[in-house]
């Protein structure tokens, strides 16, 4: 897919979410994927602040444990925490030079094979609700065009999460954030069920879950909840013969 087409598709997807009955977990996952396809970055993730003020991972471009760990490290230190606190973008063209500032985070980033990292704020008026985190395989700044597209994606995602049209009180904001965070926990629980039952890695379990949600036109969070509650037969989710539409990409984990 050409970049222009990918960009159009990204915004159409996000815009759809504003009018249709959408699943926030699925939306954010798509956004993370669009970032990797559109920007010169190797991995992307979205973190939202919970009621405790802790940044929690809600979506990643790849569900590998190693990447998830990199996002979780930023509970305590790293560019996302700084970005969240300041409300402004934090870019680190060469993580090796930031080892004094964030020793644990930098060690983890390097071990995972990334050389640069950027954090863009997810902002609604005066509130910062989270950050978009981008990792680059090589050193270098985030190109101006990439920074603009990345920030635009983060902004649209923020609006989609919070359904800005409906926001009149803090209540709704907190409620929507809480819902996004709970969705993520349900997905993690479902990944565990599928990983154990199918003998899979966590990222493979996630891919099966997501593929089944698409094939059956089910919301990702609803499917995950069904897997955990036992109301969905996980054998079907794990099955390798999906009904696949012509436009669906072939899953890459198999």
């Amino acid at each position: 897919m050409g970049q222009e087409q990918e960009l159009s598709e990204a915004f159409v997807t996000l815009a759809d979410s504003l009018v249709a009955d959408y699943d926030v977990a699925d939306l954010l996952h798509r956004l993370a994927h669009h970032c990797v396809n559109l920007l010169d970055v190797a991995a992307a993730g979205l973190l939202l602040a919970d009621a405790h003020g802790t940044l929690q991972v809600v979506a990643t471009s790849s569900e590998t444990s190693r990447l998830l760990e990199l996002f979780q490290l930023q509970h305590d230190q790293g560019p996302c925490l700084d970005c969240f606190r300041s409300g402004t973008a934090v870019t680190v063209p060469d993580v090796a030079l930031a080892a004094d500032r964030w020793p644990i985070f930098v060690a983890g980033t390097q071990a995972a094979g990334y050389r640069s990292v950027h954090a863009l704020p997810m902002r609604l008026r005066d509130d910062v609700i989270g950050t978009l985190n981008l990792f680059g395989a090589g050193p270098g700044p985030l190109a101006d065009a990439d920074a603009r597209v990345g920030q635009a994606l983060a902004d649209v995602a923020t609006i989609a999460i919070l359904q800005e049209r409906a926001i009149r009180h803090h209540e709704i904001l907190a409620e929507q954030l809480q819902h996004a965070l709970t969705s993520r926990i349900v997905i993690e629980q479902a990944k565990g069920v599928l990983a154990e039952r199918g003998g899979l890695h966590m990222d493979q379990a996630f891919n099966r879950l997501r593929r089944h949600a698409r094939n059956t036109n089910t919301r990702l969070t609803d499917l995950a909840r069904g897997v955990v509650d036992g109301t969905v037969d996980s054998t079907a989710v794990l099955a390798l013969q999906p009904r696949r539409g012509p436009s669906d990409p072939v899953p890459q984990d198999l």
């Binding site: 919970d50 009621a51 405790h52 003020g53 802790t54 929690q56 991972v57 444990s65 998830l68 979780q72 509970h75 305590d76 009180h169 803090h170 209540e171 904001l173 907190a174 409620e175 809480q178 819902h179 709970t182 926990i185 349900v186 993690e188 629980q189 479902a190 990944k191 565990g192 069920v193 599928l194 990983a195 154990e196 039952r197 966590m202 995950a224 909840r225 955990v228 509650d229």
Partner: protein, 242 residues
């Protein structure tokens, strides 16, 4: 605003006693009313089917109003348990109140105008609800709302912790490690919960309780146990890892 870390510590201290003693939940509710700008609080611990189990309240009137919801099958706490989402009603004389033809008049008669209900849940695990009652109408402020969500999180984790402890052993003051520094579990804990469900053939709630119990017994944090399970170095069913 109460500083979240301190609120959390205060709440944990209040709960550092056997939870099956209903008085512990009463004390928590009294503590919540003291810490937040609300006039009453009630906590119901339910099973997934929203059958009410244990409860606590800041005073007898809130206890009765909480009980009434589960007797009638209507009201914000009942709804929060079933939907897994907060139900925030700043003015019970408005449209929300009309949804509860029997519950709303009882609340208004007790001189409460607003009620805010938060589910007690950990992902797909639903444990009950916290209800906050206010004499005056109006929305909860943003900071109070955040504190209320912290109360719900801490209460949910504490219920799991308490169930995981051997009821016959002496009760330790809850160590700080229980909250793993952030007040919430990491992704691995939820993944390990799902894996343990399959290994043990139990519900998510039971799996998390068993995971927690294993951590208590082994003197490890719940994070450490979860990592071992996810890395397939530990199985809670006692089987050997491949």
């Amino acid at each position: 605003m109460s500083e979240p870390g301190r609120l959390r510590r205060d709440l944990r201290a209040l709960l550092a006693e056997p939870w099956r003693d209903a008085a512990a939940l009463d004390r928590l509710c009294v503590g919540v009313v003291a810490a937040l700008p609300v006039d009453g609080a009630a906590i119901s611990v339910t099973t997934a089917a929203a059958v009410r189990g244990f409860s606590g309240a800041s005073d007898p009137i809130c206890a009765r109003l909480d009980d009434l919801q589960f007797t009638l099958g209507e009201g914000p706490c009942w709804h929060a348990v079933r939907s897994g989402r907060p139900v925030l009603v700043g003015d019970l004389t408005g449209p929300w109140g009309e949804r509860w033809p029997m519950f709303t008049p009882a609340v208004l008669a007790a001189d409460f105008q607003a009620i805010f209900a938060f589910p007690l849940q950990i992902g797909a695990i639903r444990l009950g609800a916290v209800g906050l009652f206010c004499a005056r109408p109006g929305p909860l402020g943003g900071e109070t709302l955040r504190d209320a969500l912290v109360v719900a999180d801490v209460t949910a984790l504490t219920i799991i912790d308490a169930e995981a402890r051997d009821p016959l052993s002496p009760v330790d003051p809850l160590p700080g490690e229980c909250l793993d520094g952030t007040g919430v579990y990491r992704a691995e804990v939820h993944q390990a919960t799902g894996m343990a469900m399959v290994q043990l053939g139990v519900s998510a709630q039971e799996a998390l309780v068993r995971l927690r119990a294993h951590a208590f017994a082994a003197g490890l944090t719940v994070d450490e146990v979860a990592r071992e399970i996810v890395a397939r170095r530990l199985r809670l069913d006692g089987g050997l890892s491949g």
